[in-house]
């Protein structure tokens, strides 16, 4: 049974696209067939994160409008043969998405793949609503700051109101993925704590991804972090999150400040 997942947040710049690429690659590494779909029509980025920007000939809008068929528009990843990308159109806008067209594409993808990961645009308008419309599972990306958390809360409300599942009286399975978690500022009160975010949003936690310069370099190289830098703690956090999506029971590690001998000594002196 294929699972349709929407990666969403409300707020922009929190790491939706990075997370879609990283989780997609991690799920594919586990041997499952995966397609990542960019719903950010007009501001596409997922192709860059996947390193496929020069290979996009047909996109989601071409498929919806019937000027290309799905197999022509699916781009196979060069590193993992069971990972595919369906790019967004950069020259069109979100009005080119139609409800009927989205339904048709998603139902076709359901037949071909184990996982369909939809990268939602920011905001709560048409594009974001269409991206979540057919989702079975939602991954809500939040950063440890209040504006991001409140926007995520708004999106959870929409998931309970505007999705097909909600309309059929079912529930969309929701998971919280906290990204850009700065371990050097954890516990100092400068940043929201993981417990506070979980409490406010009251949905289960899928993982905590630490802020890392590895992520920036991975996106500049066009390689999902889970493929480019396997030893990075961020890559590990995404890999674990992907396993939890597969219902594996793995304890969640919350990144904390690294304490070396000197730091301990200084704080001891100060107290």
């Amino acid at each position: 049974m294929a699972k349709v997942v929407v990666v969403t947040s409300g707020k922009g710049g929190v790491g939706k696209t990075t997370s879609t690429a990283a989780l997609g690659a991690a799920l594919a590494q586990n041997g499952q067939s995966v397609v990542v779909v960019d719903f950010d029509i007009g501001l596409r980025n997922l192709d860059l994160m996947m390193g496929a920007e020069r290979r996009v000939i047909f996109d989601l809008i071409n498929v919806i409008q019937g000027s290309a068929n799905l197999s022509q528009a699916l781009i196979r990843d060069k590193r993992l043969e069971n990972l595919y990308l369906l790019a967004a159109s950069q020259t069109r806008d979100k009005n080119a998405l139609t409800e009927k067209g989205v339904l048709q594409v998603i139902s076709e993808l359901r037949k071909k793949f184990d996982w369909v990961l939809c990268d939602s645009p920011a905001g709560i308008e048409r594009g974001a609503v269409l991206a979540m419309k057919h989702a079975d599972i939602a991954i809500i990306i939040a950063n440890p700051e209040i504006s991001s958390v409140r926007d995520s809360d708004r999106i959870i409300g929409l998931l309970d109101a505007k999705t097909e599942r909600a309309k059929n009286g079912q529930e969309v399975e929701k998971h919280l993925l906290i990204t850009r978690f700065d371990s050097s500022r954890a516990g100092t009160g400068e940043m929201l704590e993981v417990d506070d975010i979980s409490d406010i949003l009251s949905i289960p936690l899928l993982g905590v991804v630490p802020e890392s310069k590895d992520i920036l370099s991975a996106s500049n190289l066009g390689i999902p972090i889970t493929l480019s830098n396997k030893n990075s703690t961020s890559a590990q956090a995404y890999r674990d999150a992907a396993k939890r999506l597969n219902k594996e029971d793995i304890p969640i590690i919350i990144p904390t400040k690294k304490r070396n001998f000197l730091a301990g000594w200084f704080s001891g002196r100060a107290a």
């Binding site: 709560i124 209040i146 409140r150 926007d151 809360d153 708004r154 959870i156 409300g157 309970d160 409490d199 406010i200 009251s202």
Partner: protein, 234 residues
């Protein structure tokens, strides 16, 4: 403190003459008579305030909405609506008038001294809305006909508007409007107080004017005179 030295915002009650339009069953015939009447004098109702009394006929919500549309297209200026389920009145619709119940209420108040229990027994249709899920940012719960109970939290940017009291078994981070139709006996209860705004019977209190000690505590709020009072609950 500045706010108290200023003259407070006040409301005045005044009596006006308004037409009461009371349709009778069968509604179809009544509408035809009305059409005949307005055909003769097309602007008769257009500049007159009208109160619609629907207590003489039984309608469902869909019929009610359609009937309102019909009156609007015929340029009726509805001041208020009487004799329908308060839950049908979406926020954008005309407010509910309740001449009968107002009389009842006055009697009830004078009897209140004797026995508050009898008042409860005299109002059989007490309604409660119970929500089993948290109220998310941007959501607005509007329940003018009774109490609202939420099993979960109310997020920052969410609002609860209740005709009666509000009970929150979780954290109140958003805005709570109790006694939205002017019920000054309404109260607000929450397990954890982090509210953005409290309103009871039209009286506001913003967190700036609330003692910081209440923050994060279980709290109840009620109206005393023209002031909202708060107290920590055990």
């Amino acid at each position: 403190m500045l706010a108290q030295t200023r003259r407070s915002f006040s409301f005045q009650g005044r009596s006006f003459l308004a037409f009461v339009l009371a349709p009778s069953a069968p509604l179809h015939d009544w509408v035809q008579e009305l059409e005949a009447w307005t055909a003769k004098s097309p602007d008769f109702f257009s500049k007159k305030p009208v109160i619609l009394d629907l207590s003489g006929i039984s309608l469902n919500k869909a019929d009610f909405t359609e009937f309102l549309m019909l009156l609007r297209t015929r340029k009726f200026r509805l001041l208020s609506i009487e004799g329908v389920d308060p839950d049908w009145l979406e926020p954008e619709l005309e407010p509910l008038a309740d001449s009968k119940h107002n009389k009842d209420f006055q009697i009830a108040q004078s009897e209140l001294v004797k026995s508050s229990l009898s008042v409860l027994q005299n109002t059989p249709d007490i309604k409660t809305l119970i929500l089993n899920n948290p109220v998310r940012s941007g959501q607005s719960i509007h329940f003018p006909s009774g109490d609202v109970t939420i099993i979960g939290s109310v997020a920052s940017g969410a609002e609860i508007i209740s005709g009666g009291s509000i009970h929150i078994y979780g954290t109140l981070r958003g805005r709570a409007f109790a006694g939205s139709a002017g019920n000054e006996k309404a109260r607000i209860f929450c397990n954890r107080f982090e509210a953005e705004l409290l309103v009871i019977g039209g009286i506001y209190k913003s967190p700036e004017n609330i003692d910081k000690d209440f923050y994060g505590k279980p709290v109840q709020a009620w109206l005393e005179g023209k002031m909202i009072k708060l107290k920590q609950m055990e």
